[in-house]
């Protein structure tokens, strides 16, 4: 029940049932990368500041480096690979591409997931709201303006698709 030995955790990752044996001190980030092969979840700072390891846990953005894998037992996770079926681009990703919102690309998975989670709560966020929500995702290529453009464009297009509300 309670020691330093490995424990079994059961996760749903991008809709797929996964199991792993993990030590209590292993972060969700380490287990996703090193055990489950999800290299799109990236190590940046290890302190919850940079956002490159953002994972949606039961729909909400979480720092993978600050959640113990044992704490994610039973949770449903989405990484950037889960936004669209394999081989396809999610329309938000297409907006990022069109707007040149990715340069080196290291921050992009975290940006996409944080923006996507925001859009679930607020389908037509103001630019200010997008800024505020993305402030914890650092981009060292200084691509912030284009990232904001991309999220805004996606929200506008999505509003058009769903009948022009907002």
């Amino acid at each position: 029940m309670s020691d330093q030995s490995k424990q079994r955790v059961t996760l749903t990752v991008n809709g797929e049932h996964r199991e792993a044996w993990v030590f209590p001190h292993e972060s969700l980030l380490d287990v996703l990368r090193d055990v489950l092969g999800h290299y799109e979840v990236r190590y940046g700072c290890g302190e919850g500041v940079c956002g490159t390891c953002t994972v949606l846990v039961d729909g909400e953005p979480v720092s993978g480096c600050l959640l113990l894998a044992v704490q994610a037992d039973g949770c449903s996770l989405v990484t950037v690979r889960g936004l669209a079926p394999a081989g396809d681009l999610h329309p938000l990703q297409a907006c990022f591409l069109r707007n040149g919102a990715a340069q080196c690309g290291f921050c992009t998975p975290g940006m996409l997931l944080t923006a996507w989670a925001l859009l679930q709560h607020d389908p037509r966020p103001s630019r200010e709201r997008i800024r505020r929500e993305l402030v914890g995702n650092l981009c060292r290529c200084t691509g912030y303006s284009k990232i904001l453009d991309a999220v805004e464009e996606y929200a506008a297009e999505a509003a058009e698709r769903t009948g022009g509300h907002g």
């Binding site: 020691d3 330093q4 001190h25 919850g48 600050l66 704490q71 944080t114 929500e133």
Partner: protein, 295 residues
């Protein structure tokens, strides 16, 4: 940066947490949201033998009781920020929660954890002190009540015993004639405050001050409550700029902040004077204007 190995135990009640803490003593650490503790583990600043995970205890709803709101210790910052009852009845708490870290910090971080961690630059400790929040602490002999101002002692130090946990926090609801303000200066909007101020001002029908409270974060080893004798100058007076500025200057002159990598002590003191003045003015404006005004 990877945490050193530790044992891990989930508990499903605060009573069970207390029992486990009592058995394990100083070797055990409680984990709630983990947004401050896990970075310390990753950096190996903290190396507990055991982590006691209280997340399975869960957080019930935020409830209004008489003149106060009762918030379970495991209430996440995000839940406070978005709570309809908090925004309506104690909006300063919602505003302070919205300033904590980034969206991921707020998704996981908890009110009880923030108070137990006692970061002198924390938003929620600052507002808890300004509000005179009451904290329910669970220990081996049952529950006890302690004022937030008595719980928070110094840098990352509280009066919690090794076998006690924060179970609930109660904050007063703000009346019709109460105004509030929470202001902070930080380098980026997700950073810790350099200086932050939580202020409450109550006015009578004629617009004269009948009650005031202000706490300043980032200028001392714990949130610093502006002494009543300083705020007393406001009582019975209209909250005019010159008066507020004088009171704010007097308050700021009483703190002696340390220098650190983010700001010098002198700068913090200067910012404290400005923010106390602005916060008192904003709180007074809200008290006269549109009731308590949701953030």
């Amino acid at each position: 940066m990877v945490a050193a190995p530790f044992g891990y135990q989930r508990v499903s009640s605060f009573e069970e947490a207390v029992q486990v803490l009592h058995e394990r003593g100083e070797d055990a650490k409680v984990i709630a949201g983990g947004q401050s503790l896990v970075p310390m583990l990753n950096l190996r600043v903290a190396r507990p033998e055991w982590l006691i995970d209280i997340n399975p205890v869960g957080a019930g709803p935020i409830e209004e009781h008489g003149g106060s709101l009762r918030l379970p210790a495991l209430t996440r910052h995000r839940a406070i920020e978005e709570s309809e009852v908090v925004r309506r009845r104690c909006p300063i708490l919602a505003e302070a929660a919205a300033h904590v870290g980034n969206v991921r910090t707020r998704t996981r971080g908890t009110l009880g954890g923030s108070l137990a961690h006692a970061d002198p630059a924390g938003e929620l400790p600052c507002v808890a002190v300004a509000l005179g929040a009451e904290v329910t602490v669970q220990g081996p002999d049952g529950a006890r009540q302690v004022a937030a101002g008595d719980l928070l002692v110094s840098y990352f130090t509280t009066t919690l015993a090794a076998d006690e946990v924060v179970a609930e926090v109660r904050v007063p609801t703000l009346g019709q004639r109460s105004g509030w303000s929470f202001l902070e200066l930080s380098r980026r909007s997700s950073d810790w405050m350099v200086v932050g101020v939580a202020a409450l001002v109550e006015l009578d029908a004629e617009g004269a001050v009948t009650a005031a409270s202000a706490a300043v974060g980032g200028v001392a080893e714990r949130p610093w409550l502006v002494p009543a004798e300083v705020l007393l100058e406001l009582f019975g007076e209209a909250p005019e700029q010159a008066l507020l500025a004088r009171v704010a200057e007097r308050a700021a002159a009483m703190v002696d902040p340390d220098d650190d990598v983010h700001a010098s002590g002198a700068y913090r003191q200067r910012v404290a004077a400005v923010l106390v003045r602005r916060a008192l003015a904003e709180a007074a404006a809200r008290a006269t204007g549109n009731g308590s005004g949701a953030p």
